[in-house]
Symmetry: C2
Subunit: 247 residues, 2 copies
DNA sequence: AAGTGGTCTAGACCACTAC
DNA sequence: TAGTGGTCTAGACCACTTA
């Protein structure tokens, strides 16, 4: 029997890709919030007019992209940035012996300002758009290791306050999710070697001129929407940046 | 109707996982060489006593892991490290404007020696095992950018010669595949900031003491067999190290 | 035209979770 | 016990490649 599907066939035009886009659209529209369960496979299959197998193939890809999480017997859930969950997917700094631990964060500065041309380009903002800029100092096992200078557009983060950053119970990306409905699903990172300027050296507790790694990260949400621009500097005397490819 | 499969259920014990292991075992045993087509889905389904759908699920995962490549209408092939193919999966250094180009390589040294304790540990070798050690200098767009010190065990690379390295037509990992039957499918990289010593500075054309990125890479084949240990130093004045997570 | 992988279906049964 | 996702089947039809 030929399939008689309800939806039109606009783009890549295979049924399951359309279903995937449909689910992504519902996600981007906030129909299901982070941490919530999405409807059952049977219901979604009916909604999109496809068989379970086809629906599953669409969901399979979203699970592979860490956008959804399945729990057998419970349901399928919108992924969250909870501490124990996918934290190390975006945090790659580990001790040189391989030991992974969660950083403790101290907020060093916070201001509302206007974006530089570089930041405007990275975040896709108009010239002189307003942004929040703040600096976090991260420690691992009581070693000061990272300095993050983070910039986010005011347009997406209306009413962000220093207190919200200081008193957030979990991770930064979890705050983005819960408070602003912004779900980071992808990052683009570029690393260079650099040397510590006086201010950086003081905050990291290293000598001025020490070799550091500089990470420039753009974090994106659904539809490749840029959400956060970040420049990190890492003291790699006892820690290193980990990349696994394959497996 | 219940499935009546031929194989025993040893480990993760779902049918398609067993099929996947069976295909991996055939690959590791060299039953199908790099670049060759594996048997058709119908034949493999018969061989493992499973339906096409189950066989496909096993192959799907191997394709997702870049171990096999499917070409509609032609067949399924063992992945190769051909230049145009997956080269940038293991080579992450790009120009700061994002432009990707293939490096030109010059071999700076080549020797047979005994492994240091560190190398023995990384490559899983016995104390004092014999290894080949060579240094490559890589240029991108006529800029000298990378210095690779590469160590491989003699046990896996019997009869490796300087000439083979100098006159290889394609990539290094392609040489490993074609000449030694060693298929790199995974790497573990750890990055630190470092400063250029005199020898490194001279070869990279930078000042002694310049900040560089140091990459320590272990490259592995099937069954997590360590094949190559490599320490690279990168001049990031005009280039950077690229990591994309998600999508 | 024959053979390959790619998509899709409809339904069975299993394993796990919650009530 | 009811509902969820997880696995598996058997086969139809499509799209592409090769000859």
């Amino acid at each position: 029997m030929n399939h008689t599907h309800i939806m039109a066939a606009p783009l890549g035009s295979t049924l399951y890709k359309e279903v995937k886009q449909g689910v992504l659209a519902a996600l981007a529209a906030g129909e299901w919030k982070a941490g919530e369960a999405i409807p059952s496979e049977r219901l979604l299959g009916e909604r999109f007019g496809v068989s379970i197998g086809t629906l599953r193939k669409a969901i399979d890809e979203l699970v592979a992209e860490n956008i959804l999480i399945r729990h057998q017997g419970r349901g399928t859930f919108v992924a969250t940035h909870a501490r124990d969950h996918h934290f190390f997917r975006f945090f790659r700094v580990v001790r040189q012996d391989g030991y992974k631990s969660y950083p403790s964060v101290s907020l060093e500065s916070f201001q509302k300002t206007r974006a530089t041309p570089l930041v405007c380009e990275k975040l896709g903002l108009g010239t002189g758009a307003r942004v929040f800029e703040f600096v976090n100092r991260l420690s691992l096992n009581d070693d000061v290791v990272l300095l993050d200078r983070i910039t986010v557009p005011e347009a997406l983060f209306a009413d962000l306050t220093e207190t919200m950053l200081r008193e957030r119970p979990t991770t930064l990306y979890n705050l983005y999710q819960d408070t602003f409905g912004l779900n980071i699903i992808r990052t683009d990172e570029r690393l260079r070697a650099c040397t510590a300027d006086a201010a950086t050296a003081a905050l990291l507790g290293v000598d001025e001129g020490s070799a550091l790694i500089e990470i420039r990260r753009l974090a994106l949400s659904y539809n490749n929407q840029p959400v956060e621009w970040r420049i990190s500097r890492v003291n790699t005397d006892k820690y290193e940046y980990l990349v696994n490819e394959g497996a």
